[in-house]
């Protein structure tokens, strides 16, 4: 395998100062992610999962160690340069969707491109439409979030994460607010995107979800406890078909 390395994390540490105490959230984490991987980061609360996610998303910088994203050392970037990294290289999907209220699906998807001065108004609209089509939301461009179901809102959020053509999609408990059927639908969509070559990192605490991905990194107490590959991930489409037709299960 000569796949391109997207992420290189070397002995990353992150410490917070809370009053007069130093909290060590990450105590030296190292792993690499190649292009095209579908990775789950798992861990119970307090394992450093959220801290690692913030770091991967360029929202935070490591105290020690190096984090290289697509060839750029994140530790040396300024606040504005971090914003640019988030704008061009990362697509976020949040647990709570975080769509702008009273704003149409199309405008929500256009949002990241608004902060990229290289993109014209015409291109912005075309790309937003394409992204919404990719998540199968044709015909709902003018719907505002309160007119959409939870699953549909999350798909708008995924379209928003796709629209800037990022090197990786970062999902934070993206199925956490959804029922099983809708979760499986979202995972099925994620698997399709992964098959099209998208690198996806999925942060979750549900082992159920991890089964759909081809690699799992398990965090415990700020360290990587296990890093296992899953050569034969479960197909979300099949899982969906196996669910009973009614909701009475």
């Amino acid at each position: 395998m000569t796949a391109k390395k997207i992420l290189e994390i070397q002995n990353v540490k992150r410490e917070f100062i809370m009053g007069d105490q130093i909290v060590r959230a990450l105590k030296g984490v190292s792993f690499d992610v190649n292009a095209g991987e579908f990775l789950t980061i798992m861990g119970s609360s307090g394992s450093g999962k959220t801290t690692l996610l913030n770091m991967l998303g360029c929202l935070d910088k490591p105290t020690e160690g190096s984090y290289i994203l697509d060839g750029v050392n994140v530790k040396e970037l300024s606040r504005d340069e971090l914003a640019k990294m988030r704008n061009t290289k990362i697509g976020f999907v949040f647990q709570a969707y975080n769509l702008l209220p009273r704003t149409t699906a199309l405008e929500n998807v256009e949002l990241p491109l608004l902060y990229n001065p290289m993109i014209t108004t015409k291109e912005r609209k075309e790309r937003a439409i394409a992204a919404l089509q990719a998540v199968k939301l044709d015909g709902r461009f003018d719907h505002t979030p309160n007119q959409l179901s939870g699953g549909q809102q999350q798909r708008v959020a995924i379209a928003r994460a796709l629209v800037n053509e990022p090197v990786m999609i970062l999902a934070d408990e993206a199925t956490g607010n959804l029922d099983t059927r809708t979760s499986y639908e979202i995972m099925s969509l994620m698997q399709e995107l992964n098959q099209d070559g998208k690198t996806i990192i999925f942060v979750t605490h549900e082992p159920d979800i991890a089964a759909f991905t081809n690699r799992t990194v398990l965090l415990k107490d700020g360290r990587v406890q296990k890093d296992t590959t899953n050569p034969d991930p479960r197909s979300a489409k099949t899982a969906l078909a196996e669910l009973p037709d009614t909701d009475d299960y």
Binding site: A83, R86, N87, P117, N164
Partner: protein, 405 residues
């Protein structure tokens, strides 16, 4: 983000909270509208004062007695006894003085048969008409011969005519009485209306000064002397000349103060204008305070807005908004509020300036500078009071903002 997009974003944000935006603007609207209204009233009264002073004769000079005695009871200028016919004769030789007329006036009752009216008789010389820009409407002015002979002739102002001849009889040729003295009416004056001081300028009777002095007042002194400079520009030279002549006729030594006062119309104009300017400045200051309060209102609502939209700010940052993008977003929103308020305020102010003259009978003049200034002040208010809330927004930590409840 591009500025155009930011402006669209700001308009959308304001549309979502229409009532709130309107209430926030209210302070600015009231402030701007009152600044413009106050300034237009001030400018209007200034111009109307200037116009009416000019109609009184812009090169007119007034000489009044003035007490130079230190201590003691101060008296009304007109009751002081310093100006006499000798002064008037001496002033006729002054080179910069074109016309001259003494004034001896008396209040009293004018009577025509069963009708009577309290009024003022002004004893003057024929030059008076020209100096004060008074015109004879019907009949004739009395002559220098009438002055010399203390003739009992007079001219009536419109108010006096209306009150003594209510039937519309022609007053010319009729005999009226002022106090006990009978006068023959030889003319009627063109009405001049109300002066700036609220005085009815038509409520007068004009007669030769000699007649008034001898037959009514029994005095040799004048209440004042009116003169006119040869040209408006010569006013100051005329004042200097008059002063030196009067000091000589009054035998004043070098160390003695003048026992009279010489005033030009220009001085009076400056004096009146300074009063009205001060009033305008005061009113404008009060109006500016409401602009300031409006600005504080904007600041307050922007802080609320930033807090309310913390999650939105977090999201925008997480998908690539830089601090400056967030700063501009909120700053432009604040500026939009203040400028929209400013535009509404300007329109209201102009409307008020147009409506006031017909409702309150105050003259108004809308000055363009007041519109430009208050508009600029609005924009600055938006920037100044919107900056801190916007800065606060731009400095939020994206991680905390995203999870803000």
């Amino acid at each position: 983000m591009k500025i155009l997009n930011l402006i669209k974003l700001a308009i959308r944000a304001l549309q979502r909270n229409k009532l709130r935006a309107l209430l926030t603007m209210l302070g600015i609207i009231i402030g701007v509208a009152s600044v413009i209204t106050m300034m237009s009233i001030g400018e209007g009264s200034k111009q109307s004062i200037n116009a009416s002073l000019a109609s009184m004769g812009s090169n007119m000079i007034t000489i009044q007695p003035y007490s130079n005695e230190p201590g003691g009871a101060r008296m009304m200028g007109s009751s002081l006894k310093t100006l006499t016919i000798k002064d008037v004769e001496a002033l006729k030789n002054a080179l910069d003085v074109a016309l001259i007329s003494p004034l001896a006036s008396s209040n009293g009752q004018s009577i025509n048969g069963a009708n009577n009216w309290p009024t003022t008789i002004q004893g003057v010389s024929p030059d008076y008409l020209e100096i004060r820009k008074v015109v004879v409407k019907e009949g004739i002015m009395f002559s220098d011969q009438d002055v010399r002979s203390s003739a009992k002739v007079c001219l009536l102002g419109k108010t006096v005519v209306d009150n003594l001849f209510p039937n519309g009889d022609d007053p010319i040729g009729k005999i009226i009485r002022f106090g006990k003295i009978p006068f023959q009416v030889i003319g009627v004056l063109v009405p001049k209306g109300t002066s700036n001081f609220g005085q009815d300028q038509d409520d007068i009777i004009i007669a030769p000064y000699t007649t008034v002095q001898k037959r009514i007042l029994s005095t040799i002194y004048f209440g004042s002397i009116y003169a006119s400079a040869v040209t408006e520009n010569a006013s100051n030279a005329a004042v200097a000349e008059i002063t030196s002549i009067l000091r000589e006729t009054h035998h004043l030594r070098d160390n003695q103060d003048n026992d009279f006062q010489v005033r030009t119309q220009a001085e009076l104009m400056t004096m009146m204008n300074s009063t009205s300017s001060m009033l305008t400045a005061l009113l404008t200051a009060v109006a500016s305070i409401s602009l300031l309060i409006g600005g504080i209102g904007i600041m307050n609502i922007m802080y609320v807005s930033v807090t309310e939209r913390t999650r939105e700010i977090g999201l925008r940052m997480s998908i690539g908004a830089r601090g400056v993008d967030i700063l501009l977003q909120f700053l432009i929103e604040a500026i939009m509020i203040s400028i929209t308020g400013g535009v509404i305020g300007v329109l209201l102010g102009i409307t008020a300036a147009i409506v006031i003259p017909s409702m309150l009978n105050w003259p108004t003049v809308i000055s363009q500078s007041s519109i430009v200034i208050s508009f600029l002040v609005c924009a600055l208010t938006g920037i100044f009071f919107g900056y801190y809330p916007a800065l606060k927004a731009s400095r939020l930590d994206p991680i905390e903002a995203l999870h803000y409840e």
